[in-house]
Symmetry: C2
Subunit: 158 residues, 2 copies
DNA sequence: GCCGCAGTTCAAGTGAGGTTGAGTTTTTGG
DNA sequence: CCAAAAACTCAACCTCACTTGAACTGCGGC
């Protein structure tokens, strides 16, 4: 398959190919480029061409989204990584530690909530005075304007 | 404080009082009413008046949001509860079981992710071929139109 | 009797993370 | 060589959970 001696570095991928292989819609890829998450070069006819490594970048974005990072944060992380080669172990270690603590935080928050819920199943109270579930909701007020992005999972359905 | 023999059932609260006590902005309370999550009666001069139990309802909404339910789902849950009295133990048991499994689902998803991440910290690979983190992201594609609400937690900052 | 804050409605804006559609151009396969 | 498929741009739209602003009205106090 390789006529030339250049291994496969000069093999650029179209947006359709990237979309297909990554499972991310072409519109989303353009959006990501807009947001500075990925890059492309253009053909003479203005069509996007991606390096293979872009697939890795996109996978990275998806993984980070699952961890709970916003695109802006993901961009920051990506900006600190080289885009032409595999990140160093140090890069990765730094990032994964941040992710790890994020996950830990979120997990333990949900576990606390679950335990409170279990307590409530027992008592069946729904009492404002006694119920942990209710009282824990206190510190949720006071945030700035704009949308609150919240922890609605992406389980099976819309 | 009770001149009459009716205990305190006829003590209605203004939107300001409810806002202050629940920590939910008045605008949000109107929004919730619009969405059918809470109810109010009006004074002769068209001002909202809330029953005490509305505080309980609002706390319920907040707890449900923490579990990860959308307002529409919370409305459904509330619609299945009596609004004038404390819910029965059976009501509560039913709801809390749904919540519980939601939480369990989400928690185990995050735990899986964390474990994959741990594996990756060890290997430092970021390789598309071998990395679980990446490969697990596969089935995230294919959803309908509209916004994907995602699992960005509400930690310390916006 | 009037000041002023708290309340009212309704429309529009916000922000994240995209999708959809119209109209045009480029690339590809027969 | 030409039609069809795929890409392009740009603006508009979508959801969710609210907030903000404009333009009024209600209610308690002095």
């Amino acid at each position: 398959m390789s006529e030339e001696n250049v291994p496969s570095k000069d093999h650029w991928l179209s947006i359709g190919e990237i979309a297909h292989r990554s499972g991310v819609a072409a519109s989303a890829l353009r959006f990501y480029e807009d947001q500075g998450l990925i890059r492309s070069r253009r053909t003479a006819g203005n069509q996007r061409q991606y390096q293979r490594s872009t697939l890795r970048r996109i996978a990275f974005v998806q993984a980070a989204q699952r961890v709970g990072l916003a695109l802006a944060e993901i961009k920051q992380a990506l900006d600190s990584l080289p885009d032409d080669r595999t990140p160093t172990r140090a890069d990765w270690s730094r990032l994964s530690k941040t992710w790890r603590s994020r996950l830990d935080e979120r997990i333990s928050e949900l576990e606390r909530l679950r335990d409170d819920l279990d307590g409530c199943i027992g008592c069946g109270c729904l009492s404002l005075q006694r119920c942990n579930l209710y009282n824990k909701a206190d510190r949720l007020a006071e945030r700035g304007p704009g949308a609150r992005i919240l922890n609605v999972g992406i389980p099976g359905e819309a």
